[in-house]
Subunit: 290 residues, 2 copies
């Protein structure tokens, strides 16, 4: 166990950082909450931590950039990292300790196991564009649950398909952890908070809320009586207004199975993804409230 000591706005902050899985304390106060993150914390993560702290006797934040969930050619090596800042922010939000393992401790030589959710939930959308991504997520979250033994875990709705995948394997494997979803935190112009937003250039940043605006257009069309497909087309029109954005998908889907909808169902979700040349962004929104 390591004590990180630093100055932060003239206040000395102390936060326990556990690096060795063997040193994780298992007999702390209950319920224990886990907030799994890849670090470079933003307001979305802080909201997860605040909710966890409000509802639990102990809150653990894990910070681990999981190599298993990055594909070849993705940004594992360059994914933004700043442990010192993250530790201060997590503590400020009320976290009791941080779990920050080395990749070599999580995946030692001889490591051979993966957790996989099969079927349409992982074959479409992000699963189609990022082969192996959800296997990596399912595997590392299963490991984190085994190591930290939380009673509940907090996930942002920003990564909506991931949230449904986590719910699926947690129930299927009887892991005994309650999955708590937390709504997406947005910038004032609607851009969903994401660690990857730092990649946006000042020129692109004002246009990056096009995903949000497209989802709003879908929701407004739905409220006005459009079918799911008609509403989707209204969203596509908004996306087309920003030529720098290369859309990958915009769909209206079932909130649990993520299958495209022909008819509205309660909780129907709009999901969208695409690229500005330098950064891939995703977003989602509940688009039909009966």
């Amino acid at each position: 166990m390591l004590i990180l000591l630093r100055g932060f706005e003239n206040i000395l902050t102390f936060v326990k950082i556990v690096r060795d899985p063997a040193e994780i304390p298992l007999d702390g106060p209950r319920p224990r909450a886990l907030v799994p993150t890849m670090g470079f914390l933003h307001e979305g993560h802080i909201e997860l931590i605040r909710r966890a702290v409000a509802g639990s006797a102990e809150t653990v934040v894990s910070i681990f950039v999981n190599p298993l969930q990055f594909g070849a050619g993705e940004d594992y090596d360059t994914y933004p990292r700043d442990l010192e800042r993250d530790a201060a922010l997590a503590e400020e939000a009320g976290a009791d300790w941080i779990f920050h393992p080395d990749p070599e401790r999580m995946y030692p030589p001889g490591y051979a196991t993966s957790v996989r959710v099969a079927g349409p939930l992982t074959e479409r959308w992000e699963g189609e564009r990022r082969p192996g991504h959800f296997d990596g997520v399912a595997t590392v979250v299963t490991k984190l649950f085994g190591l930290v033994r939380p009673d509940r875990a907090y996930f942002g709705e920003k990564d909506y398909q991931q949230l449904q995948v986590v719910r699926r394997f947690t129930e299927d494997l009887n892991l005994g952890v309650e999955i708590v979803p937390v709504p997406t935190i947005r910038e004032p112009d609607g851009l969903a908070r994401s660690s990857r937003n730092v990649y946006l250039t000042p020129e692109l940043r004002p246009r990056a809320n096009v995903l949000y605006r497209a989802l709003r257009a879908v929701r407004e069309a739905a409220a006005g009586g459009a079918s799911p497909e008609q509403a989707r087309v209204m969203g596509e029109k908004v996306l087309a207004e920003v030529p720098e954005f290369e859309p990958e998908y915009l769909a209206v889907v079932h909130p649990e199975t993520l299958e495209p909808l022909q008819e509205w169902v309660p909780g129907a979700r709009g999901i969208v993804a695409g690229r500005f040349p330098a950064v891939r962004l995703i977003d989602n929104m509940e688009v039909w409230i009966p």
Copy 2:
């Protein structure tokens, strides 16, 4: 929860049988031991239960014929089952309660998750002949660990490759369960105890110890200075003496990786499998003790 009441050799036996995963008691005495079985208990299982009882405050026996680990054309439907007898035997051996879920409760509609150990450990031998078998084992054992929350679990060395697979994913996924191996129990003529031995006809039964005799021949050749390959050939000669037996493999392997050996290592294992027309048998033995 269901109380099974029956007469057994003039003694009334009571043993709790939990069928609903939601009714598993989690706050019993610790350490808790789990003995995962597919039922139709024989002396090998009883030995597992006895060892678990001797070393633990509470012993749970699971009885579940797991459809996921049977391939197409295998004997899932006809696998022998006798819950009443199993319950009496488990109780007699000291089990505190039995977990006996319905397949529909373990794999409800929408179920989509599997645990997989990749690489040579699962590609060879049983993994090659029974595609998906080890995925099914890894998945159900992960589920049983999640449901029963044991501190340790007992597995027979009879299914040696399975034992190594269980060790692998239990460590890889940080499931926090100690895996305790238990030596194979044999009939007086050396035949390893197996629930599938009931398929042996009276004519075949006396020849069914050919797997054991072949492994003994490997061990004796090793003790006499033979190389792993020379020792293996001595075992093959024994197998060839029984024309009704169709060998699938006989190999001398590393005790953890199950890769074929060119040179002896401590714990080197002989493994053998094959078919009498009506029944497939496997066996294994430590063949080199330095």
